[in-house]
């Protein structure tokens, strides 16, 4: 299983109510269900993936985070997870607000556009970055709103969102991440993992 999912799982307390937004084939949901909590739901946009999840007995509804989170009442989950999809939304700001309304806490992971390989791509080659984490070309990428770890820190402070815990992944190694080491982490890590609360 992806290292990212292990890290997310460690942030989630036992028997809590969890919503996985953009749950894909349900890999993380299944892991959480087996190890953490049976009270886990998923939201997924792809029909085929929803069918796969339901076939595995996971409770998933077909829908889009931008429109379909509104059906959940305030604070109906202890944790809402959004793994590497924030950048693909038309309105990430609204999605974050919805995550924090529906969940008491949210776990958001972000592919870091400040990663040195990405920067070099643009600086040296003069082309839009294509990396393992961001494999698409500029003309077919689903990523509309890329950001860096620093951008997300800044966003949270502007919007008065509390960052409870932040971690960075560098070649599948977990590193602590804070305002102090941000400059360096923002350069060396591929992924940021944030536990946030309004």
């Amino acid at each position: 299983m992806k290292k990212e999912f292990k890290v997310i799982s460690e942030l989630i307390s036992q028997n809590s109510k969890v919503l996985d937004v953009g749950c894909g084939d349900g890999e993380l949901m299944k892991f959480l269900k087996d190890n953490k909590t049976s009270k886990i739901r998923g939201l997924e946009i792809s029909k085929n993936r929803v069918q796969n999840c339901l076939s595995k007995g996971l409770t998933v509804i077909e829908g889009n985070a931008e429109n379909d989170l509104q059906q959940f009442p305030n604070n109906s989950f202890d944790f809402v997870i959004l793994s590497q999809t924030l950048q693909a939304f038309l309105d990430p700001e609204k999605v974050i607000a919805e995550l924090l309304r529906v969940g008491k806490k949210a776990i958001v992971t972000i592919p870091n556009f400040g990663y040195w390989k990405v920067r070099i791509n643009l600086l040296i080659k003069g082309t839009m970055p294509v990396t393992e984490n961001l494999p698409n070309e500029w003309y077919n990428t689903p990523n509309l709103h890329m950001c860096t770890l620093r951008d997300f820190f800044n966003f949270c402070s502007k919007r008065e969102i509390k960052i409870f815990k932040s971690l960075a992944l560098k070649n599948n190694k977990t590193l602590n991440l804070s305002a102090k080491n941000l400059a360096w982490r923002n350069l060396e890590s591929q992924l940021g993992i944030f536990l946030i609360e309004k």
Binding site: K47, Q51, L54, I61, S76
Partner: protein
Amino acid sequence: MNKLKQVKNIIITKPQKLDCGKEISNFPISYETYGTLNEKKDNAILVFHALTGDQFASGKNPITNKDGWWSYALGSGKAIDTEKFFVICANVIGGCMGSYGPSTIDEETGKPIGTNFPVITINDMVNAQYNLLEHFKIDKLFAVIGGSMGGMQVLQFVSNFPDKAHIAIPIACTSSHSAQNIAFNELGRQAILADTNWKNGLYEQNKTSPDKGLAVARMAAHITYLSKKGLQEKFGRKLQERDDLKFSFDADFQIESYLRYQGSVFVDRFDANSYLYITRAMDYFDLSKQFNGNLSAAFSNTTSKFFVISFTSDWLYPTAENREIVIALNAIGADVGFVEIESDKGHDSFLLDVPDFLDTLGNYLKTNYKTVNEKRI
């Protein structure tokens, strides 16, 4: 209709109060079962049929000699696997396959009850079928499943009996019949009422039969079960066994011939009065109204796990209406899964060979049956 004497039924002796205010008792519910009830009695599924269905969901229907209406989904090794599950399907009250309905013979007069039959509701149908649980001494069903009007019964069932089913699967349905739904049903009813052979519902006494009206009702309804794309692909403007237009009102087009055929075979197996009563029950269905406009309240005590399914090309009970059920359930934190299945077969998709639907349904039942059992151990 002598063959009907061979169908299985139970007589409900205890009185049932209907929504219209009348009370009925000593009435028959005819049913069929598939598979075997295990010793723990934890593998029972109650399947609800749609408007023109009956208890013969699978195998050969002994009355019509045609395949059961849900043969694609229900049977040995199928999505609702009768090797594993014990499936009960009953004819709704108001129906014409042995359950108490307008074609039931009134013992006093020796004639069919006809329009003296009370107007019934989906709630009445479900309450009548609940007696089957007592009959089979089943404490809790593993699942309740149904499409279209069957789905409405699923919703009503879990609302009435919140701890009697582990799983509830309403398919291609709605929690409240829309104006469009009512309009199409009214069209069908008016076709029957306009047939001079209907004779105020006393056609059997008059040795007539409103076949033309019932056939037109079926033809109109049948169009609503298909999608425009499906119809276009299957029939287009193809002509029926002729090279050119005949400049007459014959069935020049294949679609006309197809609809006429659908109408004509339908009248052989269905009762016109039943059609009136059952469509009325559907039109009266408004689950949220039963709970002062709050659909979530209909499910507030439920312990069931829900799986709502809709189809992309179903314009009779479109995805948006199915989604309203999901939204109402999420609002109260119920356990609900939902998927819209891609299909161009229209509302009828749930009855047809739609592999994505059948696979997902089958796997869902299989994995959840395992989980429900593990929990109990």
